[in-house]
């Protein structure tokens, strides 16, 4: 009688071969160094790269190009402006050069205002992500590189003409400013366009806005530091923070006393429609 058994030895052989193949390609035969994309950069280099994009943007004011460069870092398109804003605040707190802080905040503002373009054409990182078997990229004439640089739409790097718009003139700002700040006024801000916005204005005794002042916003379960001077188009001494309804905030500026119990209030427009309003705080440096 002939016993019919399943060919387990074939499956075993296949699995052994598969394991050896993966071991070879991922460990033994893996390339030691492979030229990569900005997406693969170490986080601190990514931050440096972002600052460099902003500084380049400060020169050419080419927003599509700046956006394409930032997208190479792999962040979601809708988060880029926020990431830049956070980096600008951190750069200000860490006393990075003013030009860098200003460039970051200007680019963040520009990206925040401009709508994100629909991706009709492939973005640079999609066309250029390297694969383990791609052509050796030491040769700059690789297809990916050609695609990246010869056509204006995918990368936008080389051929988009710079806009010769001059940089807005901003008074040079000092780095973080300390001192005693006294609350001069606290007003409800009812503006449907602004919503539950916490506006903070920090001024000197001469009434001129002071940039670089750290403002601590605290609430139950969290806190955030914001800085004046990141929106110079409004005022050098201006900073804002979007509050969440039904959350109570406390604001402290420099060595001054905290302003407690700030929470979005309900406002009404002339048609009787209700919306959340914010607060305007004005501090004076003593």
């Amino acid at each position: 009688m002939n016993e019919r058994r399943p060919p387990w030895f074939l499956l075993t052989g296949l699995l052994i071969g598969l394991g050896l193949g993966l071991l070879c390609s991922w460990v033994i035969c893996a390339p030691s160094v492979r030229p990569g994309t900005p997406k693969q950069l170490r986080p601190d280099f990514k931050e440096y790269y972002r600052a460099l994009v902003a500084r380049a943007y400060a020169y050419d004011h080419n927003l599509p190009r700046a956006r394409a460069r930032l997208e190479l870092l792999g962040a979601p398109a809708n988060n880029i402006a926020d990431t830049l804003r956070v980096q600008a605040q951190r750069a200000l707190a860490e006393k990075h050069p003013q030009a860098e802080v200003r460039a970051l905040s200007e680019l963040a503002a520009a990206l925040g205002e401009a709508p994100s373009p629909k991706k009709a054409s492939p973005t640079p990182h999609k066309t250029q992500l390297p694969t383990a078997t791609s052509t050796p990229t030491q040769k700059p004439k690789s297809t990916a590189a050609k695609k990246a640089t010869a056509t204006p739409t995918p990368t936008g790097f080389p051929t988009l003409a710079p806009t010769p718009t001059p940089l807005p003139t901003v008074t040079p700002r000092p780095t973080t400013v300390g001192g005693l700040f006294l609350l001069r006024s606290e007003k409800l801000l009812c503006d449907p366009k602004k919503g539950p916005l916490l506006e903070v204005w920090v001024k000197g005794s001469d009434g001129v806005g002071i940039p670089g002042v750290e403002i601590e916003v605290q609430w139950l379960g969290g806190d955030e530091r914001i800085y004046t001077g990141l929106k110079p188009e409004i005022d050098p001494g201006y900073a804002d923070f979007v509050m969440k309804p039904k959350v109570v905030y406390q604001v402290r500026t420099g060595a001054g006393a905290a302003v407690p119990n700030l929470t979005p209030m309900q406002c009404q427009d002339k048609h009787g429609r209700r919306y959340w309003g914010g607060w305007t705080l004005v501090f004076i440096k003593r």
Binding site: G21, S25, Y49, R55, T133, A145, T155, P158
Partner: protein
């Protein structure tokens, strides 16, 4: 009997070879090794060229050669040769004239500073 055993061994070895092929294909093509946390010096040539272009643009704005040198130093090697390579790449790949110009300006300033003996 012996033939059957021999055939089994051959089939087993073929299965290993097929598995090895599938494994290598998967590991090299479908899910290749991707390095993370690389430094700018490990960027691909086209990204390096763009990095240098950004440095050149920033330099046009602040005219701070020390900053430019520091940034180019991240690419490893000599800053001048980094700009030279980027310039060659830009010309070969039809970068816009304005981009080529800012690269040339940076290269000229780096060269003149070196010739003048400044750090």
């Amino acid at each position: 009997m012996l033939t059957t055993r021999k055939q089994r061994w051959i089939a087993f070895l073929i299965a290993i070879a097929v598995g090895f092929g599938i494994g290598v294909y998967y590991g090299k093509t479908v899910k290749p090794v991707e390095y993370t946390d690389i430094a700018p010096t490990d960027l691909r040539a086209d990204f390096k060229a763009d990095f240098v272009l950004m440095v050149a643009e920033a330099y046009q704005n602040d005219h701070n050669l020390q900053n430019a040198r520091r940034a180019l130093g991240l690419l490893g090697g000599d800053p001048q040769s980094a700009v030279q390579q980027a310039l060659t790449f830009a010309i070969e790949h039809n970068y816009g004239s304005q981009d080529v110009l800012v690269l040339q300006k940076l290269l000229t300033d780096l060269q003149s500073q070196s010739a003048g003996g400044a750090p």
